[in-house]
Amino acid sequence: MPGPFALFIWMVGLFCETAVVVCALKKRAFRRYLLLNLYMASAVLSELGRYKILTEYGFASKQYQYFYFYSDAILTIFLYFALCTLYVHVFSEMKAERYVKMGTLLLLAGTALFTYAVVEQSSAKLVTHFVVDLSQNLYFVGLVLTYVLWAAILKLRETRTRLIQLVLSLGVYFSLFAANYAIRNLYPSLSSVFVPLVQVFGLFLPLAWAYAFWRLPEEARLVPARLAVIPR
């Protein structure tokens, strides 16, 4: 069983994820950001399932391991599609929805093919290896996509505050994990500090999104000059 700190962070995370869905419903933003909210709702369900399995079978059990990684892969795919709907929002005026959808499916298929090509070298537990690696590869694709979207937001002088907050928090969220992983592998002696931080970083996205839905109205606009000055 994980320690009290890990359990506390887990419960706070569950609360924050529920708060995102509740805030979106309360502020009538659920349908507008449907996939983002579906991702959070499925994260809540997955956390509940993980908790049930952990209390029933234990932390080191195969059941918890498999449930954790398979549910994580599903959640990552949900997050990937949620990120692509943010592209649709940003490029809505350019009527590029068709191309965004095409690119989304193409990139997902490409990532799956690449993952399969890598894991087929491994003879044991091919499906599980594929599921875990697909999840991790999609995470990196999401990281790059978020920065590309952020560049597009700057270039197009996007002013919708809530949309900017959603994209920016996603970029920070992805970057925190990558930086943490890189640092703890460069300095293994600090892993006792950086490994528990992974769990704390999991709180960032639901907190930022709950704030975006609760405090930032859909009509709120940022002055473009406050984002960056890009000569045209």
Binding site: F59, D72, L107, T111, H129, V132, Y181, S191, V195, G202
Partner: protein, 71 residues
């Protein structure tokens, strides 16, 4: 047609960039998961448990460096 080609090439470029970034970040990695959805404590990956004894969970690691993945 050119728009479709642009989408295809952009998708391939993003995939190549993402996998390149993954290679850089995980170059010295111990095979543990980089990112996980939610705040639940992450168990060790299932496919690491073969005949070899499973390494300790990430939350019980001491200061010792984690062993390399068997695959």
């Amino acid at each position: 047609m050119s728009r479709k080609l642009a989408v295809v090439s952009l998708a391939m470029l993003i995939l190549a960039g993402a996998m390149g970034l993954k290679t850089i970040v995980t170059a010295h990695g111990d095979g543990s998961v980089i990112m996980a959805n939610g705040a639940a404590p992450a168990p060790p990956t299932p496919y690491r448990n073969g005949a070899a004894p499973a390494p300790p969970t990430p939350y019980r690691n001491g200061a010792a460096p984690a062993p390399p993945t068997p695959y």
